[in-house]
Symmetry: C2
Subunit: 159 residues, 2 copies
DNA sequence: CGTGAAACTTGAGGCTC
DNA sequence: GAGCCTCAAGTTTCACG
C-alpha cells in the first residue's frame, strides 16, 4: 500500500475537484485516463480514498450555529460508553476522545442558538455525562475540505 | 434560494456519493437526469453546494496524529490578526474564533507526535499567541463527511 | 502503461405541461 | 417556471498490445 508521487498528485486533484474526469486528472499528472482510473480504483480498494462527497455550505441549509462541547464523564467511562451517549444526537457532527481534562470533545451543529441549547440540554441528560463546557463558534477562520498530502494553507472561507 | 424536499434529497445523495451520475440521482429522487442536472447547477450557483471532494483517510497518507489547540491571545486581538498568525501553519486543518476563555480553537493534524510538538512550538512563537492548551485526539468516535440535512448519526470510523 | 472500441453519461437544444 | 425527450460530444470502462 505504498503511494508514489503520482498517487499523491491524483489524491490532491480529487480533493480539489472530486468530479474531475480521469482524462482531466491524467493531463494534470501526465497519465492516460485508464491509468488514472486503475490508480483511483486501487486507492479506493486500499482505503486511502474512502469515498466522494459534495461539499455543502451548512449555513445555506439553515445550520447557522456551531459549537465545540467538552464532555466530562464519571471516572472510568470507556470510549464505547461515550460513543453510546452521543451517537443518537443528530446535531453531533464529529466527536473525539482526547487527552486532558475532558473525556471527549464533540463538534455540534444546530439551526440556531435555541436549537443548540436544546441539543445541549439533551446531551446533558445522558447518564454518563456529568458536565459540559461549551465554546460557541463565532467565526470560521480556516476550514480545509480535508488534508491534502502536500498542499499549503488555503484562504479561509468565512461566514 | 428556497430549497424544496427534492433539493434536499439531491444534496443528501451527493453527500453520500459525490460522483453519482445524474441519472442515478434521478431514479433515487424520481426525476430525469436533465432535471437533476438543472437543480444541481442551481444549487451550485446558489452556493449550497460549494464543490466536490474525495474523502480521504488522513492516516493512510501518514497523518496519524491530531489535536485541538485552544489559543489564547493578548487582550483585544482581532479575528484577522489571529488568522494571520495561523494561516501559514500547514498543519492547521480548521480554526474558529469561539466564545469562552480561549480566543480561538484550532484543529491540527500532524504526521506523528514529534511533528505535532514541532507545529505547536512554531505556533507558540507567533507574537499574538500568549498561551495554548492542547487536547490530543485519542480516538475518533464520530466523523460525518459533512452535515446531511436529514441523515441521522452514522457509525464512527475509528482509528 | 497506452490504445482503441463499446456503453454510458453529460450538456444543450427544443417541446410540453 | 419546471420537467421530459433527443442527440452530439465527452467520459468511463474494458480487452488487448
Amino acid at each position: 500500500m505504498r503511494l508514489d508521487e503520482i498517487d499523491r498528485r491524483i489524491v490532491a486533484q480529487l480533493l480539489e475537484n472530486g468530479r474531475a474526469s480521469y482524462a482531466q486528472i491524467g493531463t494534470a499528472v501526465g497519465l492516460s485516463a485508464p491509468a488514472v482510473k486503475r490508480r483511483v480504483d486501487r486507492l479506493r480498494a486500499d482505503g486511502v480514498i474512502t469515498g466522494f462527497s459534495a461539499v455543502v455550505d451548512p449555513a445555506a441549509l439553515g445550520w447557522t450555529t456551531e459549537a465545540f462541547i467538552e464532555i466530562f464523564c464519571t471516572g472510568a467511562t470507556s470510549p464505547e460508553e461515550i460513543y453510546a451517549s452521543i451517537r443518537n444526537h443528530p446535531e453531533v457532527v464529529a466527536a473525539y476522545t482526547v487527552s486532558g481534562d475532558a473525556s471527549a470533545l464533540v463538534h455540534v451543529r444546530a439551526r440556531d442558538i435555541q436549537h443548540l441549547e436544546q441539543a445541549l440540554e439533551r446531551l446533558r441528560r445522558e447518564d454518563n455525562i456529568t458536565a459540559t463546557k461549551t465554546a460557541i463558534v463565532l467565526s470560521r477562520l480556516i476550514g480545509r475540505p480535508t488534508d491534502s498530502p502536500e498542499r499549503p494553507g488555503r484562504p479561509a472561507s468565512r461566514y
